[in-house]
Amino acid sequence: MSQRLVNWFKFASPASFYPLAGKMWPWFAALGTVLAAVGLWISFFVAPTDFQQGEGYRIIFIHVPASWMSMFIYCVMAFWAAIGITFNTRLSGMMSSALAPTGALFAFLSLWTGALWGKPMWGAWWVWDARLTSELILFFLYIGYIALTAAIDDPRRADKAGAIVALVGVVNVPIIYFSVKWWNTLHQGASVSMTKAPTMAATMLWGMLIMALAFWMYSIAIALYRVRAIILERERHTTWVAELPEMQR
């Protein structure tokens, strides 16, 4: 173990992760702000009007990155849940709890912007097609995770229970992603995927990818910020927290 270049297990301890997260989050926040500014500028002023939808299509610059993030964050939560159950690390549960509100926010944004777009384009705010329904279930999974972990007083037990929800719910993520392929849905298929060339104009694609990157940076920054608060709250009785410079007053 000591021969390794970096001992990753060192950062599994809240006491050493707390200052590291403190150093990292401002960088991600700054990067996210810059990327969001560039992305929004491209989305509103550079990207051309769509041939069918006119200006209404510009919702994709928020809608698509938000949907991607909502699915990806759930996978990350499930990853930390698996690590937490396997290695019994305290930090994993804290990471999952720190990610859940951001994931819920993105799932909600995805549903909300989709509804705003659906009314003029499809002619309905909401339809019970496979894509929309599975994304709604994802939103409920986030809410369920938050509610369950908040309902149990002992943080270690709350983490265990939450980890089960995160792991069971992860089955839903591929269902959301492939729903438009597996079944006839009202929701259109993917414009951007790993297997084929994107079916959208280059500037539109760039705007969307930069917005997605901005959302990534935001999510990392806010999760690190939140995990610091959770660490302080849970470890407030320990000596290392008492010895922190910000506690010396």
């Binding site: 769509d50 041939f51 396997t86 009202l186 259109q188 959208m200 539109m204």
Partner: protein, 146 residues
């Protein structure tokens, strides 16, 4: 096996079991998860006969007729066709040659009376100039063939 390897194995095994269960359930509910039926499926008798359902396909070019408030058009999947009558406001993206999903009942005469019409959008996003270029290219190949 160390306890932590055992726990990891339980997680992976559990996820695999859950995945298989989900796949089986979704497979069993296949027909209920389908948002719409294509005209070919309707012709093969796969669509429900007694109750309302949705049909989906393309609006056939040149088939849209409006008389008063009733819009009549033909939904096609290029193999089979179904004539549809709809009383109400059509969505913005509704146009000939584009995707559509209509909810309603199929009459004994094979005509579909819709209570709701939704436009189905495709995954192509491009500026109007690019669409004009695509149309032009199509036009060119068509004249070449003739």
């Amino acid at each position: 096996m160390k306890p932590r390897q055992k726990r990891l194995a339980i997680i992976l095994g559990g996820l695999a079991a859950l995945g298989i269960a989900a796949a089986l359930i979704l497979n069993a509910f296949q027909s209920n998860l389908v948002f719409f039926f294509t005209p070919t499926q309707v012709a093969n008798g796969e669509a429900p006969k007694e109750r309302a359902f949705r049909i989906g396909g393309l609006v056939k070019e040149g088939s849209l007729q409006r008389s008063d408030i009733v819009a009549r058009f033909i939904v096609t999947d290029t193999a089979k066709e179904i004539p549809v009558a709809y009383e109400g406001i059509l969505p913005d993206l509704f146009s000939e040659g584009k995707g559509v999903v209509a909810q309603g009942v199929l009459g004994a005469d094979g005509k579909f009376t819709a209570t709701e019409v939704l436009a189905k959008h495709d995954e192509n996003y491009m500026p109007p100039e690019a669409q004009a270029a695509v149309d032009k290219a199509h036009e060119a190949t068509r004249t070449l063939k003739q």
